[in-house]
Symmetry: C2
Subunit: 217 residues, 2 copies
C-alpha cells in the first residue's frame, strides 16, 4: 500500500512539473509576443491555455483519488493537499500569460507599450520567464535554495512594477490613456505572475523544511 | 465516527460562513472608503485583513485535520477539499478589498476617480457588496438559486468594468495619468472580486448538484 502511495505521489509531482513546464513555455511565448508584437505567438498562448487548465484539473482529480484511496496522514497528507494548491496557482499563472498575450493581440500590429517602457517590460518578462523555469526545477528537485532565488527575482519584478508607475506618473510621460491603461494592466499581470511563483515556492519550502511562512497579501 | 465527522463538517461550513461575513464587511467598508474618500474606514479594512487571513488559515488546518482523522471519501471528501479552495478564494477577496482601501488611503483627501467615473464605481461597489452578502447566504443555506444571482451580478460587474475602459479611452476623458492608472487598477480589483465569488458559487453548486462547471479563465 505504502509503495502504491509513493508511486502515486510521484505521479502528482510529475504532473506538477509538467504543468509548470507548460506555464514556463506560455510565459516565454507571452512575453515574446508582448515585446515583439508577435501575434501568432500570442494566439498560440491563448489557444493553448485550456491545456494547462485540463492538466491542472486532471491533477486535482488524481490528488483527490489519492486522498480517497490512500487516506494519507501527516506529511503525506500535506503533500497531497499542497499539490491541489500548487496546481491552482499554476493554472492562474497560465491565465496571466494568456492575459499578457491578449494585450499583445489586441494592440497588434502596434506594440503594447511605448518605447520608454519597453526595456522595463523586457526585463520584467525575462525575470518572469526565469522564475517560471526555476519553479519547474524547484518542483522537480525540491532544492530549497531555488526558493530563495525565486523570491529574489520576484522582489526585482516588484521593483520594476513600481518603476512602471513612476514612469507613467512622471512628468516626461507622453502616453495616451490607452498606453497608460495597457501599461498598468500589463505591469500588474507580470507582477502577479511572480507573486504566484513565490506562493508556490513557499509551499514547497514548507513541505521540505516544516517552516511555515505566511502567505503574502 | 460518522456523527463526529458531520459535526466537524458543520464547523467547516460555519467557518466559511464566518470568513465570508468578514469579507462582506471588508468590501462594504472598502467601497464606502473608496467612494466617500473615508480614510479611517480604509485604515480599518487594511488593519483587519490579517483577521481574514488568520481565519482562513485556521479553517485550512481544520480541514486538513478532518482529512487526517476522518479520512472521508466520496462526497464528504469533495466537500472537505472544496472548503480548502473556497477559503483560498475568500482570502483573496479580502486582499482585493484591502487593495481598494489602499487606493482610497493613498489618494486621501482626494477621491480616487474623477467625477465622471464615480457613478460607475458606486454601482460596481454596490454589486460587489451584494455578491459578497449573497455568498454568505449561499454558504449558509446551500440554496443553489443564489449561485445564479451571483453569476448574474458578476456579469453586470464585468460590463461596468468594460465601461470604465470605454470612458477612460474615450475622447471626453480628461484624466491625468494618475487617474487613468487608479481607475484601471480599481476597476480590475472590483472585477476580480466578482470573479472569485463566481468561482466559489460554482464549487458550492458542484457539490450540491454534482454538475461540474469548469473554472472561468
Amino acid at each position: 500500500m505504502r509503495e502504491v502511495f509513493q508511486q502515486e505521489l510521484r505521479e502528482v509531482q510529475d504532473g506538477l512539473v509538467e504543468i509548470a513546464t507548460l506555464v514556463a513555455q506560455a510565459i516565454d511565448k507571452a512575453t515574446r509576443a508582448f515585446n515583439e508584437s508577435n501575434v501568432s505567438l500570442a494566439e498560440e498562448v491563448i489557444a493553448d491555455d485550456h491545456l494547462i487548465d485540463q492538466r491542472a484539473q486532471a491533477l486535482d482529480e488524481l490528488a483527490i483519488t489519492i486522498l480517497a484511496r490512500q487516506q494519507p496522514v501527516a506529511r503525506d497528507l500535506r503533500i497531497t493537499v499542497s499539490a491541489l494548491r500548487i496546481s491552482a496557482s499554476l493554472e492562474r499563472m497560465g491565465d496571466l500569460a494568456m492575459h499578457i498575450s491578449q494585450l499583445a493581440r489586441y494592440r497588434f500590429p502596434d506594440k503594447v507599450v511605448p518605447k520608454s517602457l519597453r526595456p522595463t517590460f523586457h526585463e520584467m518578462g525575462a525575470l518572469d520567464v526565469e522564475v517560471a523555469r526555476q519553479l519547474v526545477e524547484l518542483l522537480r528537485t525540491q532544492d530549497v535554495t531555488i526558493a530563495d532565488e525565486i523570491r529574489n527575482k520576484d522582489d526585482q519584478v516588484d521593483e520594476l512594477h513600481l518603476s512602471v508607475f513612476e514612469k507613467v506618473l512622471g512628468e516626461t510621460w507622453k502616453g495616451e490613456a490607452t498606453a497608460t491603461v495597457d501599461a498598468t494592466l500589463a505591469s500588474r499581470y507580470h507582477e502577479r505572475f511572480g507573486d504566484h511563483a513565490v506562493s508556490i515556492a513557499q509551499k514547497v519550502l514548507y513541505l521540505a523544511t516544516g517552516d511555515w511562512v505566511p502567505e503574502p497579501a
